[in-house]
Structure formats: C-alpha cells, structure tokens
C-alpha cells in the first residue's frame, strides 16, 4: 500500500512530481529532486567512479538517471543506500545490454566497496583450484577480460576528464584474469594473481 511519502520519495528520485502537489510547490520539489539525485550521484562516484565514467562515455551522458530511476524499487530489499545503489546500477547496466567491459568493470570496482552488502556475481574460485595454484585460503575471482588494465586506464581518463572518444576507442584485452581480494585495516585491496594460474 502506497502513501504520500512513497510517492514523494519515488518522485524525488525519478524527477516525477506527484499530481497532488500544489503548483506553487513544484519548482521547490524539482530543485530538491536534483539535490537528492546529486547526493546519490556522489555515492555512485565514490564507489564506482570508473564504471560511471565508462557508462557515461559509452552509453549516454544521462546514464546516472537510469540508476536513479531504479533505486526506489530496490529500497524494498536493500537495508542501506550503497546496496540499493549497487542493485540499481546492476539493473541499469543489464537494461543497457552493453558489452562485457562495463559489466566486469562494475564488478571489479564492487570488490573494493566496503559499505553495504553488495554480492558480486563474478565467479569465485573453489578451494581445489586455489590449492593447485598455491593460493590456499584466498578469495579469488575470475574475470574474462584484462580488467585491472581496463580499470587503471579508466582511472586515468576519469581523473583527466578525458574526452568520451578516448573511452570508446580503448581496446579491451580479452583473457582469463584472476583477481585476489584481501582486507587491510578497513579497506579491500585487490591483487592480480593471473600468473599463479598460468600453465
């Protein structure tokens, strides 16, 4: 059952003004909607800076709008903002139906995220494979692309506010890539351990 607060919240994050709001309040509502979506945008940028930059360059300048559109629905299942944003961003990426690069970049950056409960969907290696690679007890994920290089390059482009064509022209290298994740104090650190699996 929905009430006015549901409608207000949905409207604030989708940019749709509720019909029952008096006309004089409309500009105020829309201004607040922009402010709030910028707050969500800041959280997206903090956790998935390269994903958002890549999406903006390759898909649309308004890529973030699609994430904001989906976020309200995920408030029903996510206990905190970050998890809801993860689910909303995942939805937006699937909806765009894009090449694997955006997806793997997204999953790679999610491995860094320290807040919320963002369940990555990149395959995690089973124990027997870790043992044979000499990586017992470690948390290792398998990517299909050389995602550490992709991420590194997108970090450079993002920091430089590089033209979108740089991103579109970047040639992603394909190849099984293994990334280990480990905790250091309150941060997640990632290590490229692909060499451990080289035949």
């Amino acid at each position: 059952m929905s009430d006015r607060y549901d409608e207000l919240m949905t409207g604030l994050y989708t940019g749709a003004v509720p019909d029952w709001l008096p006309g004089a309040k409309r500009p105020v509502f829309l201004r607040e909607s922009v402010r709030r979506r910028c707050e969500l945008g800041s959280a997206l940028r903090q956790n998935w800076p390269c994903t958002m930059f890549f999406g903006r360059c390759v898909l649309s300048e308004d890529f973030a709008l699609s994430v904001f559109q989906h976020w309200p629905a995920y408030c029903r299942v996510a206990t905190e903002i970050t998890t809801g944003l993860y689910l909303g961003l995942k939805h937006a990426i699937h909806e765009a139906g894009t090449a694997p690069a955006l997806w793997e970049l997204f999953q790679y950056e999610t491995l860094h995220v320290t807040t919320g409960s963002c369940a990555v969907e990149i395959p995690r290696l089973a124990k027997d494979r870790l043992t044979s690679a000499g990586l017992d007890g470690q948390e290792v994920y398998r990517f299909e692309l050389r995602v550490p290089e992709l991420w590194s390059r997108m970090k450079l482009y993002h920091a430089a506010l590089a033209p979108a064509c740089f991103v579109r022209d970047y040639e992603v290298v394909h190849g099984a890539t293994y990334v280990a994740r480990y905790r250091r104090n309150d941060r997640w650190l990632l290590d490229d351990v692909t060499d451990a699996f080289a035949q």
């Binding site: 006015r4 607060y5 919240m9 509502f29 707050e39 299942v77 905190e80 903002i81």
Partner: protein, 283 residues
C-alpha cells in the same frame, strides 16, 4: 499537560552512537579531555538492531551520564501499527538502556528495508501528518513509559501548509509530549522559507513545550535560488547558532538541557564546544 516527571534531562549532553558509549563514559570518568567532566548526559543514536549490554549501562551509571535515546529509523509520519517489529525492538532497547527519554526527528527515515540516513524525508508540515505524529507520540509514550520528544527535522524543501513553529506547537499541544528544538534544523528551515530566525522565534508560544535543545555544525553552500544550509555535525558550530540558542533559552524562561551534536568532529573541536557551551549557558 506536562509534568515534572518530563524533565528528566538536565545540563549538557553530547550525541554519540551505541558503540561510542564506553569511550565517552571513560573520557568523563578520567576527565580526559578535561571538558568531558562537564557532561551530564549522552544523546545516544539507537537502531532497533543495536546491542545494548549491561556493561554499557554500568558505564553510564558510573560516569553519571543519563542516557537519552535518539531513534534513527522509526517513521513518525506513518502509523506505528505498520512498524510494530521496530517499535517492539526499540522499547526493549529503551528499557535495557534505562533511557530517561526517547526522541526522534519527525520524518520518514526507513523506506522498505532501506535506512535512508541523509536521504530521509522531513514530515510534511500539514494537518494529516500532524494527526499521525500526534497519535504515534502518544502511543510510543505508552509503550516506552518515559517521556517522548518530537524534534524538528532537517528541512531542505517545504512542501506543506503549516509553518514549522505552528506545526511543532500543534503536535506538542495535541500529544501532550515535549519537543526537542534543533537550532541548526531551525536555521535551515528559516533560510528556505525566507524567514528571519530571531524574529520568527521571538514570541513563539510553543517554546513552553520544548524540553531539550540540539545544536550542531553546519555548512552553507551558495545556490542559484539562494544559499542552502546543510546539516554537518562534524563542522564547527557557528557563533550565530549559539546566539539563536541563547535567544531560545531566554524565550523558554528556564535553563533547558543542551545536546551538542558533533559526530565526526575532532576531539579538539568537541572540547572547545563543550567548554564554550558550559561557560555561556551553565556557568
């Protein structure tokens, strides 16, 4: 309508999270930093899932810090019946903590399962919302058995019919519950509603319902439609905030407790604020 039993809080308080209780108590007991010895209570932000331990309660008693419980997720703008699980959990924690009062900003704090935090929605200042909040405050007070106070929330856009102070007075009168007056939230509302704070506050009869003041850091950002005030507890508390607080204390005609909300601020900053608040209001 209000009884002496409502006034269980007095002096100077500091806001903190549940996991900071032990640290704050230890600081007061050791008078290290020295200003902590002037604290009389803690305003503790509590979620329905927080664990309250006997050690925490013991530490509060030893340090002679009364616990005020500040709720963070209950939607006062929605019927409590729809939030029974949270209400039950909150009541258990209020009892475990031996809270002397329970307070919450009037608003929408949890949407579905998501704790909204800075994305919370303030109460719409209108009749239907006032009715729900009044009913909720009365019911919550019956459940927790200690005074319940409604606080003016941060308001970045005003979508209602009432002005803030009229709304607060209406809620307090009809519920018989006291109010927390948040100076920073009040200043933010004045900015967006184009009101001069001191003029607006002077002569407000609803001040008689206020049981506690909150004062916190904030930042101001320029914007095309006028500057916007942002709640920023870690920031310095402005001299103007303290001046408005002094005016409010004068209007209240008696010395009410003051909570410094300084989560995230450096110890040096908090120490300074405790010292200057003590000197200005409790010397």
């Amino acid at each position: 309508m209000h009884t002496i039993a409502d006034d269980r809080l007095s002096g100077l308080g500091l806001s903190c999270a549940v996991d900071e209780i032990a640290t704050q108590c230890a600081r007061k007991l050791a008078a290290n930093p020295a200003p902590w010895q002037h604290l009389d209570y803690l305003s503790i932000g509590v979620y329905s899932t927080d664990v309250i331990t006997p050690e925490m309660v013991g530490a509060l008693r030893d340090a002679k810090l009364a616990p005020a419980m500040h709720l963070l997720e209950l939607n006062l703008v929605r019927p409590l019946g729809e939030q029974q699980e949270v209400v039950t959990a909150i009541c258990r924690r209020a009892e475990a903590l031996e809270a002397v009062c329970v307070e919450e900003d009037m608003g929408f704090w949890t949407w579905g399962k998501t704790r909204l935090e800075q994305h919370m929605l303030p109460a719409m200042l209108d009749e239907p919302t006032a009715d729900i909040i009044v009913a909720n405050l009365m019911e919550l007070r019956r459940w927790v058995g200690v005074p319940v106070y409604a606080e003016n929330p941060p308001i970045y856009c005003d979508l209602g019919d009432y002005d803030l102070l009229t709304f607060m007075e209406r809620v307090a009168e009809d519920s018989g519950c006291g109010l927390v007056f948040d100076v920073g939230h009040f200043l933010g509302y004045c900015l967006i509603s184009d009101r001069e704070p001191e003029d607006y506050l002077r002569g407000w009869k609803g001040i008689r319902h206020v049981r506690e003041f909150h004062v916190a850091g904030s930042t101001m950002r320029p914007d095309s439609a006028g500057p916007v005030w942002y709640d920023d507890h870690a920031a310095a508390i402005s001299d103007y905030s303290f001046d408005v607080l002094a005016l409010a204390q004068t209007q209240a005609s008696r010395l009410l407790p003051i909570t410094l909300e300084q989560e995230g601020a450096t110890i040096a900053r908090v120490s300074d604020h405790i010292t200057c608040t003590t000197r200005r209001f409790f010397a």
